[in-house]
Symmetry: C2
Subunit: 347 residues, 2 copies
DNA sequence: AGTCAGATTGCAAACGTTTTAAATCGTTGG
DNA sequence: CCAACGATTTAAAACGTTTGCAATCTGACT
């Protein structure tokens, strides 16, 4: 026999008060006598009263939920990002009693249509959008609806003001270049993805800007590109980079998974890291610490970022007309053993 | 200007039909004339009508959500489990248009109280419970309420019938022992956790049973125990195991994270794996492939399990009175390079 | 005693949907 | 031409809460 859920009406009857008063007392309204408020609170606690979310949402227009569309990924792909992000988001939201809804995208559906559903069904008071694309229809939609959201990542178009939090990939990649340059490296490789994600541009541009700043014409940069989820193409692209006549002495990867692939292929080709090749990644996923000899990378602290995104979103929901919130996080260099001085004997 | 959401009333007015008819037409009731149904469906599509979740939930008593309480974990802990699990669950639920609610546990709250909130506020039609403890008050609560749920993991008490899916850790650990025994190992180590989780017992018992089955009195087993989230204690316990006069030649770890720690400490102690020590884990987390020389482990395919759990839960929600659903998954051995023949020269 | 202000409390509407029971329509058989 | 039936549609209640407005109560002041 399922124990029944106490309703406001019952609580009111039991206390010999009106539903209105009980509701207000629990909401802590000042207009209800303090004594009554205490009496009601205690009775509610005793009865284990929990307000019905649906009824509350229906009348107040606030669901107490924040939505997120589950990022799509291939069937055999491990995504170290999601677990961290979700945990952080939960942490950021919990202080205000807000829960998270995750909506998956079914086969044949677009991510946008799922987002629309979440927004228009009133399930959520705000949403989080991750992995921003160069032309992102999700952001366009949310903006047009004037629906509260915070993006993890930036658009390239800086005219479009909105709420975002991003890690400063451009700066990090500049830092990586400077460090490697100072170690004597002049011939660089960059492993990147084919998808039109904005973080690709930002990081790539950060690297290019650092090279330009240095103003040394002897610096060379080879770029290898492969679709994000195509392992075969990735391996091929990396090997093209590794097996040119004049091989780069340092390779920067757009993110750790790519860097780990580089290390694997380098090992397969008989190269010793960091003696023959320096490798630097970005993200600091768990595997990076274990992959020999330990990947030097930038820690983006996804969990912490997500937590802050959660808090930002709550602010945005609370005050829709506030000026756009933006936050640029500086990732920190995690120096392990995959980088070192350039092999100069060769030149 | 936020575009307005179309409501049933508007749709009805526009079609010159009653709200009732429109509602029924969209639900596909046979009693509504086919022609009308088509007309309504088309108009709804055009208007981009999305039913309001709260209103629907309030009257129907079904929220279309499945709940899960975000597993608690330390601030600096990476949990490879969660991302996989959530993705799989989403995949399993999406076919029925069900979304997932994740509720985080705030500081000072108990996981049970959050679960109660989720259940009693009507947020969810069913819940998923992971990481079953020996005496699990969450299961007791859900059962007493007769609320639909599926557990990832089993209780030791087999009298209590409920819906669960579990990986057969007992069998896997038996398999690990047999394999190692056949490779000549006689002195074993087991690294386990202090927390009263049922999977600990099941795996440990599986190992003990395999040893007993073998009936070889020369087999020895040393057990090292440490709290799950205490890294220092874990390292200490492992080193106690590694630095006894007569060191085990093979160590089985309760799960991969422990196994990776064993490999790290072994390397630090100058031991070569698998020559001096065989190590076997369980879970097959991403890092296990990278940690040198590659951890031999069992793949529990969390994502696939979670997917199935999602499907099971939908079944349970659909028919509350059905017999308990149970499913035991056989993990598959992933043979990498961390195990090998026992070093016999020593004896 | 009457009046009035301020402090409390309660009535009733509203939120958008589903669902029960009943109404309406058109048709067929007598 | 009427009754009855099946097919289709509709009115109205219900879900549990919040909230604008009105009602009541309690003293204090005149």
């Amino acid at each position: 026999m399922p124990a029944r859920v106490t309703k406001l009406k019952e609580l009111a009857a039991q206390l010999d008060l009106s539903i209105t008063t009980v509701s207000r007392a629990l909401a802590g309204h000042q207009q209800i006598a303090l004594k009554t408020r205490e009496r009601v609170t205690e009775a509610a606690r005793q009865a284990g009263y929990v307000p019905n979310t649906a009824a509350r949402t229906l009348v107040s227009g606030r669901s107490g939920f924040v939505g997120m569309v589950l990022p799509i990924r291939g069937p055999n792909l491990v995504d170290s990002f999601l677990g961290e992000f979700v945990t952080g988001l939960g942490e950021g939201l919990v202080s205000h009693g807000t829960d998270l809804i995750l909506a998956a995208v079914a086969q044949g559906q677009s991510e946008l249509s799922v987002l629309r559903h979440v927004v228009e069904s009133g399930r959520a008071d705000g949403v989080v959008v991750t992995r921003i694309a160069e032309v992102d229809e999700r952001l366009a939609y949310l903006r047009q609806r004037n629906f509260p959201f915070v993006a993890h990542g930036r658009l390239l178009d800086t005219d479009f003001a909105y709420n975002w939090l991003d890690t400063d990939g451009a700066h990090a990649f500049g830092e990586a270049f400077d460090m490697l340059y100072d170690l004597g490296h002049r011939h660089f490789g960059l492993v990147t993805i084919a998808e039109p994600m904005t973080f690709r541009h930002l990081r790539q541009d950060g690297l290019a800007a650092a090279i330009a700043r240095r103003g040394d014409p002897s610096v060379m940069l080879d770029v290898a590109t492969a679709p994000r989820f195509d392992r075969g193409a990735r391996i091929q692209a990396i090997n093209r980079l590794l097996h040119t006549a004049e091989r780069p002495t340092a390779i920067v990867a757009l993110f750790d998974e790519l860097a780990l692939s580089v290390m694997e292929e380098a090992a397969r080709a008989g190269l010793v890291i960091p003696r023959d090749l320096s490798v630097i990644g970005f993200d600091n996923i768990a595997a990076s610490a274990y992959a020999p000899p330990g990947l030097t990378t930038f820690d983006a602290s996804i969990r912490q970022c997500a937590r802050e995104i959660g808090e930002m979103l709550l602010t945005v929901i609370g005050d829709k007309s506030a000026a756009p919130l933006t936050r640029l996080i500086q990732p920190t260099l995690v120096s392990r053993a995959s980088h070192g001085p350039a092999l100069t004997g060769k030149k």
